[in-house]
Subunit: 203 residues, 2 copies
DNA sequence: GCCTCATCTGGACAGTGACAAGTTATAAGA
DNA sequence: TCTTATAACTTGTCACTGTCCAGATGAGGC
């Protein structure tokens, strides 16, 4: 399918993927609450009810976008760890936290969708799987740090929840626009500040 | 104004307050993303465009609701502290955290509106004031604990941010439905667990 | 009594999600 | 190759939404 020619075949060819791409762009531009299925369809150049065939309804498309979001989310954490000089367990956990922040700031609307929205189908199995994978990553970081698996040791699971709550709260408040002092910092200062805050949980 | 009689006077009398009351109910029932100005007007028994006169647009009403939310939020924290046996600074901070959770679980939609929504006018001065008052309360808790004011001591401000991030993250994740282990706990167990998590930041 | 103005009504418009019925292309089977 | 079943997409419609605008109403000051 050559996009440069004006040939509009009745069948798009890869509409599902195109809708996801456009959906992500629309989401980033309008936010969750301004999101519109018809807008996405228009963006792709397709009829207003074409998306329904692939995703059912708005919840369906948003759930697919959220699932994709959790994969990018995991990527962001892993990327920071890959770029990490040290192999120290504590440093690796901090790297995950910084990746968490990277993603949050790069894709705020997607982040809000993944964690805050009522408009996504939380039962979507693909979404559940990719969210679970992201959680497992964090659990693994803690396992490396404590020497025991959170899935077997309750104390380690408490550590997971504490670390997760801390990063997530920091990221959420940053997005909410209510953490003024930190918002005005540039990236290096913000990261240094985050390290100080996060140190309370990594020990 | 007697609500039991069917007397519909042209002027409502206290429409603004009635809209806020109904708005809070509608918000709780439908969530932020299902919120509808017309629905609120219908609930009060008034024409569909009556709210505009008092709040401008949807953002305006939601901002007023959020401002009211922050006041209830502060009340919830203070109520827990008032019910606190000990006057220990650490215990008082924990009490604030538990109040934070109380509010979050009692009014999840309002909580999401206050911290997560793009649909509220964040520049609203009343909203800014009540959000600021809630923040000041937390800052005061830390001041009592550390002996220095966060507004003067950077280290204390870091403590504020850490404590705030922790509670907020915990509360948000609880609402997001992605913190399964904690979600299945009953209230006493959840509070005990929260104490363990929060202890990492109170020292 | 009259006038002014904040308050509230009712209608209009463009946009929305969901549904139903129709159209087209593709692939499988004779 | 021809038919046929089915997946992919379109078109039209419905009830609903937020916002704007021109009116109707009534309370309080004069």
């Amino acid at each position: 399918m050559d996009m440069t020619t004006e040939k509009h075949s009745y069948h798009h060819g890869d509409l599902r993927a195109a809708l996801l791409r456009a959906g992500e762009a629309v989401l980033a531009e309008t936010g969750v609450e301004g999101f519109s299925l018809r807008r996405v369809a228009r963006e792709v150049g397709v009829s207003h009810s074409a998306p329904a065939h692939h995703f059912g309804d708005t919840q369906g498309l948003l759930a697919a976008l959220a699932a994709e979001g959790f994969r990018q989310f995991l990527d962001a954490m892993q990327a920071r760890q890959a770029a990490c000089d040290s192999q120290d367990a504590g440093e690796l956990l901090i790297a995950s936290g910084l990746g968490y922040l990277d993603f949050t700031l790069a894709a705020p609307a997607l982040f809000k969708l993944m964690f805050g929205s009522d408009r996504v189908d939380v039962c979507d199995p693909d979404l559940d799987a990719s969210a679970g994978a992201a959680f497992d990553h964090l659990a693994q970081d803690i396992a490396r740090l404590r020497g025991t698996s959170p899935y077997e040791d309750a104390a380690a699971m408490t550590d997971v929840m504490a670390a997760w709550s801390m990063v997530h709260g920091f990221a959420s408040l940053l997005l909410s626009g209510r953490m003024h002092p930190v918002q005005e910092m540039d990236q290096p200062a913000r990261e240094a500040f985050f390290r100080q805050v996060f140190a309370r949980v990594t020990g």
